[in-house]
Amino acid sequence: MTRKQKRLAMIGAIGLVLAVATGLILVALQDQIMFFRSPTEVAQGKVKPGEAFRLGGLVETGSVVKEPNQIVRFVVTDGANTVRVTHQGILPDLFREGQGVVTEGKLEPGGVFNASTVLARHDENYMPREVADSLKQQGHWKDGKGENKGAKP
């Protein structure tokens, strides 16, 4: 191979790998991402049937029901609308009534959200940002709620 051919072969190979990678990334961005929806958006019918998405809001106080076989039912609310959720499994440590929660799953035909995952939170003051934003939109967010109680300089 001449010098020029070598250079072309090299550039061609690099271009090929980059093209494959770009293709993979674009395909994955089409199919593998999940939208975050609030109960209001669900009520407005923004969710396509069968679409997997993240549902976030507050766990409605008094709504948690535990059934045999580790099935849990609860209601997620953003103040304006609610969605019933069912989940099989052990709930994360910081799952509590009246607290923020993010779940992942699909809406079933009856309008019940079947959550495959209930996301764990790591801090008792921590409010998932998506939940905080959607609560703000509904006017149910009091600034400073999730803030540190300590004095700020």
Binding site: M10, A28, I33, Q70, D93, H122, Y126, E130, N148, A151
Partner: protein, 657 residues
């Protein structure tokens, strides 16, 4: 008093950093050896001052001085001593102080070994390091000062986030930071080389130990964090493609690429601009990681504080350094002489292959991590890019790389013989396929991809070790001992590191064969788990130093009925924050584990149990450990330390004061 001393030392350290950022750099550019050499003294003094500041904050934590706001918010007098130590960096301000301390440590390291460096290189490198240190010292002092006092000191602190109260946390952040920030010195070397217009084999030899040191600690830090998540978060997962994990993975991928491209630069004087670019990109990704973690734009276990002002400050530093370095790169890179082309089938060709795939994989992680932020900023739509995205992009991009490693190891410089290299590797490949078949038989089938992964891992391990075997056998049977001793340490290091990658692939693939069982159990009830039997012996309260817990005691028996262990998974509630955490029960056999986590025990009669049998799970972390051991061996290879030519052509050496 001690706290004020620390505060003062930090401010003084800032002043010294400003000096270090200007005078030695100016001296290097002007060719004034005395001024350039001043960088070494400045770096040492800067490090001493930062160490003093860090010691003062540590002292405040150890004596539980709650008049310091930072200590009040993150400590508790009943906290065990080790967590008072680790609490220093278990929060935003303290961790940033550690960040700057490590920055200073690497600058001081270069200063200590400065005799080997040309004067102008030393001055310019430490000057750039001083610029970074100045920016972050300013950030500490003006936007996140750990030394602020409170007017009315409370009696008790608010305690450290309980999930962070674990021995794993005591070492995870310092290791990770050593890696992340360690690349700063490589960046400084690269910027200095651009300013001075000298990129050659000597440059590659200069950055080699620093790149290796940063890479080793980053590898260990990521592995440690993954192991910590596995046993502390109680879901048995080891990697979540969480944006913050990705933030550490990106510099690791490009740093690994840099490690390999620097070898080509050293041996063949090729890939000059590419190596410089990788050094710049790697530290830029480290800065990006710091920004993502510390600005609160992401929601994650690692995000301590959501404070827009701090985010903006770090963003400005990020833009200044990334923008500045790329501008410098664009202006000066064309002045570097290219090293010429080489044959695709050769050691250097294989290393280019490695670089290509590592960079592209890093790009995929980059897109997946930043796309949600970009989309939200542009359209307001909130999306999450989770494991499926990365499994479809980054993972397939790593497979050709892993397949190529054993071949690359066998190829000679300049012109390699792929068929010759392949001959021995056919055996390794056949053994890999056999290993996959045996796994399929033992597990009674299994996902094809996981089996292929196990085969790939076995091929990698055998292919890496075969290189050593091949070298040992070349002199005939009688010579094995002598030949083994004659193998250069860096060759052994490479084989071990690549074998480590193989072990990790096996461990990750084996997770497809784990068994998970969930059940509500009463005392006396049993559960069968892959030939083992678990029996709930009792449920009871446990009191710890700063927490109360409900623990369940399980006995674990094997198929013959012999009791192997008592496991006590628990739910803890920490007194300071009234926050519950899980404590898992684990039993190790060989490289596999039985893993128990319990859920609610509200009525005191039942306990929700989640039990796993995880075959070969420990390989996931033993692999990276072996990789780091390889790195350490390579770092201490005598051949690469002795005989580094001292280049003093341009400047006349002056005795350091």
């Amino acid at each position: 008093m001690i706290v004020e001393l620390g505060h003062f030392a930090l401010i003084l350290g800032f002043a010294v950093a400003l000096f270090q950022a200007t005078i030695p750099l100016w001296g290097a550019i002007r060719g004034d050896a005395v001024l350039a050499r001043l960088g070494a003294q400045a770096a040492l003094v800067h490090f001493a001052l930062l160490a003093l500041a860090f010691a003062a904050l540590t002292h405040a934590y150890l004596v539980s001085d709650f008049s310091v706001l930072n200590v009040f918010q993150n400590s508790h007098s009943l906290k065990p001593l080790i967590y008072k130590w680790s609490g220093v960096w278990g929060n935003h301000e303290g961790s940033m102080l550690l960040w700057v301390l490590i920055l200073a440590l690497f600058g001081a390291g270069v200063a200590v070994f400065s005799k080997r460096l040309p004067d102008d290189m030393l001055g310019a490198t430490l000057g750039v390091q001083g610029l970074i240190a100045s920016a972050f010292c300013a950030f500490l002092i003006f936007a996140s000062n750990p030394f602020l006092r409170m007017p009315n000191p409370p009696i008790e602190g608010r305690d450290l986030n309980p999930v962070l109260q674990d021995p794993g946390l005591a070492i995870h952040p310092p290791l990770l930071y050593l890696g992340y920030v360690g690349f700063s010195i490589v960046f400084s070397f690269a910027a200095a080389a651009l300013v001075l217009g000298r990129v050659d084999a000597a440059f590659a030899r200069m950055i080699r130990p620093w790149t290796l040191a940063a890479w080793i600690t980053l590898t260990l830090g990521i592995a440690m964090g993954s192991y910590w998540a596995y046993y502390e978060l109680g879901w048995g997962g080891y990697w979540f493609w969480d944006p913050v994990e990705n933030a550490s993975l990106m510099p690791w991928l490009t740093g690994t690429a840099l490690l390999h491209s620097a070898i080509v630069l050293e041996k063949r004087e090729a890939l000059k601009t590419w190596t410089i670019l990788l050094a710049v990109v790697t530290f830029s990704l480290s800065l990006l990681g710091t920004f993502l973690v510390r600005s609160g734009v992401l929601t994650s276990v690692h995000a301590f504080a959501v404070d827009p002002e701090r985010g903006l400050f770090i963003l400005l530093i990020l833009i200044a350094f990334i923008g500045g370095s790329f501008a410098l790169f664009a202006a000066r890179a064309s002045a570097l002489q290219g090293g010429g082309l080489f044959a695709p089938i050769s050691r250097e060709g294989a290393l280019v292959f490695n670089n290509l795939f590592l960079s592209v994989a890093s790009l995929a992680v980059f897109v997946g991590t930043l796309y949600p932020l970009l989309l939200e900023a542009l359209t307001g739509a909130k999306i999450s890019v989770g494991p499926p995205f990365f499994n479809l992009t980054a993972v397939p991009l790593m497979v050709p790389l892993f397949l190529a490693i054993p071949f690359g190891q066998k190829l000679a410089w300049k012109r390699g013989d792929l068929l010759g290299a392949g001959q021995r590797l056919w055996t390794c490949m056949a053994l890999g396929v056999a290993g996959a078949a045996i796994s399929a038989y033992a597990a009674g089938g299994g996902p094809v991809l996981a089996l292929a992964g196990i085969g790939l891992g076995i091929f990698l391990v055998l292919g890496a070790l075969d290189d050593l075997l091949d070298r040992a056998l070349r002199g005939g049977i009688g010579m094995i001992g002598a030949r083994l001793r004659a193998i250069p340490q860096s060759i052994t290091a490479m084989a071990l590191a690549h074998a480590g990658a193989g072990l990790m692939v096996i461990g990750i693939s084996a997770t497809a064969f784990e068994t998970e069982k969930i059940a509500a159990m009463k005392p006396g009830e049993t559960m069968a788990l892959d030939g083992y039997t678990l029996r709930l012996e009792g449920i009871g309260p446990v009191t710890g130093p700063n927490y109360n817990a409900i623990a369940a005691e399980f006995s674990l028996r094997d198929a013959a009925g012999t009791e192997l262990a008592r496991l006590r998974p628990a739910k803890r509630v920490y007194i300071g924050r009234q926050m519950p955490t899980s404590e898992v029960g684990r039993y190790r056999h060989g490289l596999s584990e039985i893993y128990l986590a319990i859920g609610e025990t509200s009525d005191g009669q039942h306990v929700d149990l989640r039990a796993y049998h995880k075959p070969y799970v420990l390989l996931i972390w033993l692999g990276p450990l072996l990789m780091s051991i390889g790195g350490i061996l390579s770092l201490f290879d005598r051949r690469l330390r002795i005989g580094v030519p001292a280049r003093r052509a341009r400047l006349r050496p002056e005795p350091a004061e």
